[in-house]
């Protein structure tokens, strides 16, 4: 026999919460680093309220947008950032060809110049993981 509906729903909910906690473990530590950077700025500059924080996540930074957005409020709890809106901008990978000097924005991080097929390329964008700006009072 299947357990009653409520029991099932409770179990499924607990399972997903647990799974997601594991998934965001990495992003949570990244979010905590960000919060501690911002809190030291807030304290130094006597900020009263933070409305919005804009960050840039590069495709090759090792961080992911969605879990970071989930982790941010957890890391921000108890700080002025608690009520701030988080805006995440994604930076695609941009390579510079050492042969023909052309710049290309890539969807996949395949290090090959589409113009001249050279593999001698340098990543010039896509590794960013930065706090871009903050809207404060």
């Amino acid at each position: 026999m299947f357990p009653p509906g409520n029991f099932c729903r409770g179990f499924v909910k607990k399972f997903w919460v647990l799974s997601f906690r594991l998934i965001v473990m990495h992003e949570l530590s990244l979010a905590q680093s960000m919060v501690s950077e911002l809190v030291s700025y807030i304290e130094k500059n006597n900020v009263k309220k933070v409305h919005q924080v804009t960050i840039v996540i590069g495709k090759l930074s090792g961080a992911e947008k969605e879990p970071f957005e989930f982790a941010f409020p957890i890391a921000a709890e108890g700080t002025l950032l608690e009520t701030a809106e988080l805006v995440v901008e994604i930076q695609k990978v941009v390579i510079l060809c050492n042969e023909c000097r052309s710049e290309t924005t890539l969807d996949m991080p395949l290090m090959k110049c589409p113009s001249c097929s050279s593999r001698s390329v340098k990543i010039i964008k896509g590794k960013e993981f930065i706090i871009k700006s903050m809207e404060i009072e």
């Binding site: 499924v12 909910k13 997903w16 919460v17 799974s19 997601f20 594991l22 998934i23 965001v24 473990m25 990495h26 992003e27 530590s29 990244l30 680093s33 960000m34 501690s36 950077e37 700025y41 309220k49 409305h51 919005q52 960050i55 090759l60 930074s61 090792g62 961080a63 992911e64 969605e66 879990p67 957005e69 989930f70 409020p73 608690e82 009520t83 809106e85 996949m108 991080p109 395949l110 290090m111 090959k112 593999r119 001698s120 390329v121 990543i123 993981f129 930065i130 706090i131 871009k132 700006s133 903050m134 809207e135 404060i136 009072e137």
Partner: protein, 288 residues
Amino acid sequence: MCKDCGCQEGNEKKFFGHDRDIHNHDNHHHDHSHEHGHFHDGHWHSHDSDHEHNHPEGHHQHDHSHDNHIHGDSKTVMMEKNILAKNDEYAHQNKHWLKDRGIVAVNIISSPGSGKTTLLEKTLDALKDKINCSVIVGDQSTDNDAKRLMGKCDCVYQIETKSSCHLDAKQISEILPQVVNDNTKLLFIENVGNLICPAAFELGEDFKIVLLSSTEGEDKPVKYPVIFSDASVAIITKTDLIPHLDWDIKKCRNYIRQVNPGMYIFELSSKTGEGMNSWLEYLAKLVE
């Protein structure tokens, strides 16, 4: 996401717990609170009380714009600050500390089970009485790896990361003076088995080495491009198993080159010793 930590991937529906208010999205639920109100196209829109509303299109889709908020005396400050600035500071200090003592440090990263510890066992055995080595091992729990490596080099130090999925530079800085001595030339840092998180955290190493075993997919380099583009050396391990597997080493090499054309690739079997010599010669040259 920590796909290598044993986490789920490709979940189409996710449920996130919520303390204050619940937003139901078609794709997922998540929690955030709006304790401040906004002006949206001329009307005040308050998010103060507990409420529930539906969003038709997944994440953070509102039927109103957030472009024209009026927030009293607010101003936008440009930060341009690295989120991992603190970790980077520690990493920078570690790097200089090691450089001053003439120690080469390598950060070894792979999925769990690729053969990091076995490779280290065989490497340390071969380098004994030739190069003074020390090892820092990171695992979420247990000191099993440290026990395996004990007695094979000057010092082995196990870091149990508990809830964290990677080693960070602060952990390394705290134990460096205990781990190396005046004769140490080579420091191996065996990171937590994970291809994602350790890639984001510099430890102060000279370079990263990524391992990929023949029991994993050939396309792992393109699936996990961050670490493969960041590391300088790739080691394909367990090559003795290749004849028994439907696994194409050429394909694997090509995938590595696609992500990192200049990557130095070793192919070896720690078990049979095949290919170990060029790896050991490489290490000897590093500390010359």
